[in-house]
């Protein structure tokens, strides 16, 4: 074989010719075929793959929707309704895209929760985690701008309120908002640039997802026990074990998705967004999409404008430094009895914020939001740093294979060594 060519094991001569020059097949085989994966994943480990599929669904439907959509204030609303009425299967594409945003956030929130519970953010996966937070931020920006495009009442007033957040910045705030708008209010220039960016950002997300996966394949996956695989007996090749397991999760995910799209397509949206945007009338209850509600509740919990905005962004920014706030070397919460309870209370505070964010800004929701906000930050900034020193963790199992064998009842003979023999 000539120098400079990759040594390919592919049997098919044509594919081998390609693989020797561009080793994509070897790469796929290594990263998704034989890639050694901890053998003890539970179904929460499906959600990374689901998020990937969800991103592809959004890009595919989005590209086709963009062929029919008109980003102009006088035509945007009607062009969306034209998609719903006149374009072949346009209703399907739009409802998949609209509910796909909700599905994306459900999947990603569960994915983040899994990372929090099993300590997937800890060394050596800090950068992997931070790239994930970047994806989350980009998703929020994309979803926000996408919701503006139908140019209904919620689109318009959501855009107005969220862009006005930047006016809280001292000195330059007003200029920044004018710059964001391209005018003196949310108007046609705003709609046009939001459409442009809404089309662009998913591809940026795709790029960061690639880095996220590349980083994952350097450190390897975490697992429910949070201990590193000690040898081949602790891992399984990704294919066919986890491709099969991910497929099961994928079908369940599609069923939930389909129930939303076909039977409750507008349940997670707002009726007001079927009223065309009117810059003179604000709807009585304006709330963002459900996936922003926890952060919206934090914004409203703070009585100061700049403070509220800072806290809201801080709620996500704190995730960036989480790997260094959690001082415990134990990854999985299974072995941290106190921190586990603290984390469940944090989940509760997140859900309470989600609930309060959708309520009018009256009592008792303001007080409840403040308590939940306080706990949200206390968990990261006080509880986790302290527990790393104070908490006595449960004893860790020796290896991944051991508790699987011990807990599984009577074992088929040679179950442990079997995958080894194949190697």
């Amino acid at each position: 074989m000539a120098t400079g060519l990759h040594k390919s094991d592919v049997a098919n001569p044509v594919l081998r010719w390609i693989d020797a020059r561009l080793p994509v097949i070897t790469l796929m085989q290594k990263e998704y075929g034989t890639f050694p994966t901890p053998r003890n994943f539970n179904y929460l480990w499906n959600f990374g793959a689901l998020a990937m599929v969800n991103l592809l669904v959004m890009i595919a439907t989005g590209v086709v929707l963009a062929m029919h959509y008109t980003p102009h204030v006088s035509m945007a609303f009607d062009s969306v309704e034209r998609i719903m009425r006149d374009v072949n299967y346009g209703w399907l594409l739009r409802y998949v895209h609209a509910n796909g945003a909700s599905m994306f956030f459900i999947v990603v929130y569960i994915h983040i929760w899994r990372g929090l519970y099993y300590g997937s953010y800890k060394a050596p996966r800090e950068l992997l985690w931070m790239l994930g937070v970047v994806i989350f931020l980009l998703m929020m920006a994309t979803a926000f701008m996408g919701y503006v495009l139908p140019w209904g009442q919620m689109s318009f007033w959501g855009a107005t309120v969220i862009t006005n957040l930047f006016s809280a910045i001292p000195l330059v705030g007003e200029s920044i908002v004018t710059w964001l708008w391209g005018g003196f209010s949310v108007d046609n220039p705003t709609l046009n640039r939001f459409f442009s960016l809404h089309y662009l950002l998913p591809f940026v997300i795709f790029g960061v997802v690639f880095l996220h996966v590349a980083a994952l394949h350097i450190t390897g996956s975490n697992n429910p026990l949070g201990i590193d695989p000690k040898g081949p007996q602790d891992t399984l090749p990704f294919h066919p074990y986890y491709t099969a397991k991910d497929s099961v999760g994928l079908v369940v995910y599609f069923i939930v998705f389909a129930v939303l799209v076909f039977f409750f397509p507008n349940m997670l949206g707002h009726a007001d967004n079927y009223i065309p945007a009117n810059p003179l009338v604000t709807p009585p209850h304006i709330v963002p999409e459900w996936y922003f509600l926890p952060f919206y509740a934090i914004l409203r919990a703070i009585p100061d404008k700049l403070g509220g905005v800072l806290m809201m962004f801080g709620a996500i920014a704190v995730l960036f430094v989480l790997p260094w706030l959690d001082t415990s070397p134990i990854r999985s919460m299974r072995f941290r009895p106190v921190a586990r309870v603290a984390l469940f209370i944090w989940l509760l505070s997140f859900l309470v914020l989600l609930y309060c964010g959708g309520k009018p800004p009256d009592e008792p929701f303001v007080t409840i939001s403040r308590i939940a906000t306080l706990y949200y930050f206390a968990y990261f900034l006080v509880i986790l740093p302290l527990l790393g020193r104070l908490e006595r963790p449960l004893p860790l199992p020796e290896s991944i294979a051991m508790p699987v064998l011990r807990g599984g009842g009577p074992l088929p003979a040679g179950a442990m060594s079997k995958p080894m023999e194949k190697a």
Binding site: K245, A271, K359
Partner: protein
Amino acid sequence: MRRFHSLKALLVAAGLAAAGPALAAGEVHVPDTRFSFDGLFGHFDRASAQRGFQVYKEVCASCHSMHLLSYRNLRDLGLSDAEVRAIAATVEVQDGPNDEGAMFERPGRPSDRFRSPFANERAARAANNGALPPDLSVIVKAREGGADYIHALLTGYADPPADVTLMEGMNYNKYFPGHQIAMAPPLSGDGQVEFHDGTNATVDQMARDVTQFLAWAAEPELEQRKALGVKFILFLTVLGFLAYGVKRKIWADVH
């Protein structure tokens, strides 16, 4: 342990479910009306929707536009091509400019949009004491409570309670947010519309029929959507069992 994890997933789902109704919560409870298009296999009652179109045409259309609909759409309601052409031809539509550069009026065609009663929003407000009669194209999607709310509103006019003072030009309605609505009771009495199929035009019947029509207008894809959804989910269920079987087989020697 595994059961424990699914519990967590449930918790998250429960949180989301709680948020849904929280957003939808209105001040007044709207009574639940049974419609043919509710449910898994819901479909439109064509006869009812055709009567509803008649109510819209003879009552609502004098103030409310439906600019997203075209006369051709009425074929979906079971009207024949000739009937649709005849209905379209009864209105004058502005077209042009012609070769002399002037706009002109011509009889409507099936491809024309429903003619709006007012030229623009200002004209509509001027003719209605400053209140804008909303476009009804997607009104069922644009109101919390959907079809139930529209039916309740149309039948919800009543004398105001003693402690309520109506503002000038306003009417009391049990289901309108704030209870004071500028629209006078549109369906004022039985027999206001004479249905071709002999159905007795009570206020409730007219309200039901026009709601049926408006629900169709807002979601013309509903029947196709639900039918496709049932098939797709059945397919996925089978695929799910198959995928689970494959997974079990592959993992058989690991557990």
